[in-house]
């Protein structure tokens, strides 16, 4: 193996691209879980976003419209989950799984005529001045708009949850839905809004995969990215900035693993490809060991069904 053949600066730059899909999906799921809802359908919403965004971009020729379409598709799909869990009071774990299975089927049906096509390329946005900095400039400040958007979204989510009244209400609903209901907050409506936001983010993440990262449509192309986004939220102890750190760490591992494959490490590709999943498990174990659910920072009402009796 020849480690010197790996361009470490290029690796840093591609790390940000590799991390963006799970960062987008992860920050969306964080808001959903902060509202006390566990949506395990991230994978399904991501892949539906991937094909919806791809199809919209190919048909319209505009990647911007593609991303928009993906967000709408993800949000629409998440509404199915909202109806099931918030109105039909179904089990959230089972409903999330249903959403994933449904999304996988839906996406492969929608994607049949799009296999092998090339999407319109998403333009790079060189930030003036900053991108001219030697070495760091091209690495950090010469990406497409979605990379910066995802970081801005993390900042916005953090500020929303920490400093706004609406954010506080959302957290209250997630911590104790009975109390929030007693105070007159519309628990179901707030949760539906959070679920829709999570769906839109997952859709964007999926579209980033099919429009920028890969970029083409293949069946089942998310290959667990949605699940990794779910793990990311646990890793982040439900804190927005830590989702960013986690996503970049994870993106780094993915990119490094791909580079090691290219550099000819004497380990078969199949075994190297396992590494992101194994590392996710190890991280989950480290995060959960020796600490109680409360210390981890999980919202107290997470995953519990709310039924207003009064």
């Amino acid at each position: 193996m020849d480690l010197s053949s790996i361009n470490w600066l290029l690796l840093l730059a591609s790390l940000m691209v590799a991390a963006t899909p799970i960062l987008l999906a992860g920050i969306g799921e964080l808001v959903v879980e902060k509202a006390g809802v566990l949506n395990l359908g991230v994978e399904g919403m991501m892949i539906t976003g991937a094909i919806a965004g791809f199809a919209t971009a190919v048909e319209s020729g505009s990647p911007t419209l593609g991303f928009l379409g993906a967000a709408v598709a993800g949000a629409l799909l998440s509404m199915l989950f909202a109806v099931l869990t918030q109105f039909a009071l179904a089990n959230q774990v089972a409903s999330g799984l249903a959403l994933t299975l449904f999304g996988l089927g839906l996406s492969s049906l929608m994607g049949q005529s799009y296999v092998g096509l090339k999407p319109p390329s998403t333009p790079k946005l060189d930030i003036p001045l900053l991108s001219d900095i030697p070495v760091l400039g091209p690495v950090l400040f010469s990406h497409d708009l979605m990379v910066y958007f995802s970081i801005a979204l993390v900042a916005a989510t953090w500020a929303f949850l920490k400093y706004t009244r609406a954010g506080l209400t959302l957290r209250a609903v997630g911590e104790n839905h009975e109390a929030a209901h007693a105070l007159g907050y519309k628990v179901v409506a707030i949760r539906c809004a959070a679920i829709a936001f999570g769906g839109a983010c997952a859709g964007l993440g999926g579209a980033y995969l099919s429009l920028v990262r890969v970029p083409q449509w293949t069946e089942g192309m998310t290959s667990g990215a949605g699940w990794i986004a779910l793990a990311l939220v646990v890793f982040a102890s439900w804190k927005p900035w830590r989702v960013l750190i986690g996503a970049y760490l994870f993106g780094g591992i993915t990119v490094l693993q791909l580079n090691l494959q290219a550099a000819g490490l004497k380990v078969p590709v199949e075994y190297l490809s396992m590494s992101p999943y194994i590392i996710t498990i190890i991280v989950l174990v480290i995060m959960s060991s020796g600490r109680s659910r409360g210390a981890l920072g999980a919202p107290a009402s997470l995953g519990r069904t709310f039924h207003a009796t009064g």
Binding site: G103, V234, E270
Partner: protein, 359 residues
Amino acid sequence: MIRLEKRPNASKAWSYSTPLLAVLLTMIFGGLLFAALGKDPIAAIRTIFYDPLLGQHAFFYRPQLLVKAAPLILIAIGLSLGFRAGIWNIGAEGQYIIGALCGAGVGLAFYPTESFIIFPLMVLAGALGGWAWAMIPAVLKTRFGTNEILVSLMLVYVAENLLRGMAVGLMKNPEGFGFPGSRNLAQYPSATSWISQNAGLHWGVAFALIAVIFAYILLTRHMLGFNIRLAGQAPRAARFSGVNPTRLVLFCLGTSGALAGLAGLFEVSGPAGQITTDFNVGYGFTAIIVAFLGRLHPVGILLAGLLMALTYIGGEIAQSQLQLPAAAIQLFQGMLLFFLLAVDLLTNYRIRLKQGAAA
């Protein structure tokens, strides 16, 4: 104004009829979907649900029904135990793969020796493989409190990569002209799970039936079964009555892993025949639908497994005769789970129509 009122006890009548209602709704909406794809909905539904059972070529399709249903039932029975106790093993697909790899590994190691002992050893290896793979999330959950949903799912992707590595590496057929894939176990008399290929009978079918009976006895007649149900319905009461949650997690995940491993082994040594890169076809995930469709009840799962097998086979016929895309069938199955969860509301709640605003 519609208001929901929680029933003091789950309705028996609805709990039997909701699965049927869900199937009916899926047929209606599936028909609409097929119509949207430009196919005759009535013909499509008939091709999927009627032709494999009673159509002109049914004699050819009926045995396949058992072949498809067996792994689904085996896996779903195992999953249902955990689901009842609130333990979510959704990595059955991975346990299925590992079971197949372990079992096939034993079989391939003995090739070309003929002995009656080889197949039982493979069965053992398959069950142990699946069990061990499921023990990873189980032990991590009991030791560190790690979420079993995410771990078991991550392990599916690990198992898939392992499968690919094995199919092109260690288990590759030395006489296979360099193509990926192992020797064909179905053509190795000591290692095949087929009892009668024409009747669609292999050992997996027999084991599926045995699993249904055992699960039924366990849940209705045994203390452990009672504890599983108790832990799911009233976790606090279960704790007070001394149910050991650690042992429950180990038992539920272990059993479902072993059953999924068995399903994988019977598949690889029979219908599939060999380890290939795309050996797994998603039975582990479809079994989740089967478990819910059967209302987590062994007899229900038996029927649900047969029904789901019907949609697989009917789907294949519809694919070749009506050019219905394979993905449409997948979507159809996903829809079924949606409707099941939605109409389940009727089992636990009464819907009251009230005049004016609700208090």
